[in-house]
């Protein structure tokens, strides 16, 4: 390894940290209030750019089956989070996203064009007003 390599590694590390540090800070501050409020997140499921369904992430289990021309995906909501359970896509990358339960996290199934995004009311009550917008 040369010095240039170490410089490159440090640059990439710093870039990663720039993204990660605000998230940790936010996570630590947000965690307490989030647990107190228990404001559930909302998962927006889009297929090929079209909104397929929006679900509130509840503690109770919900199974969501997405059947489209692109393929079949099975999502499971539980414990205020969501997880991809099954997919008939060839690469199975979407299953590796695992269980997600945090704001801004997402699950992508590229071959089946399925996107699951978590949005929620972590910012407080103001965000509720956005719900009124209809396309």
């Amino acid at each position: 390894m040369k010095r240039g390599d170490l410089v490159l590694i440090s640059v990439v590390l710093v870039a990663a940290l720039i993204f990660l540090v605000p998230r940790w800070v936010e996570g630590n501050n947000g965690n307490d209030s989030e647990k107190n409020h228990k404001s559930p997140l909302v998962a927006t499921i889009t297929v090929d750019g079209q909104v397929y369904k929006t679900v509130e992430l509840t503690k109770e289990e919900q199974i969501i089956e997405i059947k489209t021309d692109h393929g079949v995906n099975v999502l499971k909501v539980h414990d205020y989070g969501i997880e991809m359970m099954e997919a008939d896509c060839p690469d199975q990358v979407c299953l590796s996203f695992g269980f997600i339960d945090k704001h801004n996290q997402s699950i992508v199934c590229l071959p089946n064009k399925v996107l699951v995004e978590l949005e929620g009311s972590t910012g407080g009550e103001n965000q509720d007003e956005v719900d009124a917008i209809v396309n």
């Binding site: 040369k2 390599d5 590694i9 692109h70 992508v108 590229l110």
Partner: protein
Amino acid sequence: MKSTPLSTSESALLLKRTVIISIFAAVAVVLSIVESLIPVNMSVPGAKLGLANIMVLTCLYFLRGRDALTLIVLKTVLTAMIFGTFSSFLFSLFGAVFSFVVMYGLLKISGKRLSLIGISIAGGVAHNIGQLTAASIIFKTSSIFYYLPALLLTGIVTGILVGIAVKYLVSSLSKLSLFAGFTD
């Protein structure tokens, strides 16, 4: 265009290049298959070992940029055919080409300041950025970049491993007579 007959040494060089590219492409495809068989759960979605990058970087080392580009296109088409993942074909190509551009550029610009390990890290990280960008264009959302930092970190680790592999491969291949004309 008038076709001027190639001299013996020129055609020999052309033949050697073609042979090397096809062997490398075949090995790259095999490495992709091997990689898909290894159940590595790095708990980072989309993270891969990037074993095929060993061949791309080795090709860049011995041959010209356009040869490595040929290798990448061959490899991507062949893996898409074998795995039947044509839906993500453009997506893989985008990542691979972006990674190639970065590695090629760094090889030219950096001179001798970066070793093969550094180039391979840059290539791995560029591959991840390229794929995320392609995905965010396809889905018209930037939320996928949530996974960028984790992919940057895994990119460093896999980049180092791939770089070490390339180092050993280059030094062994340099001893073969097929590569005699290409080492410098």
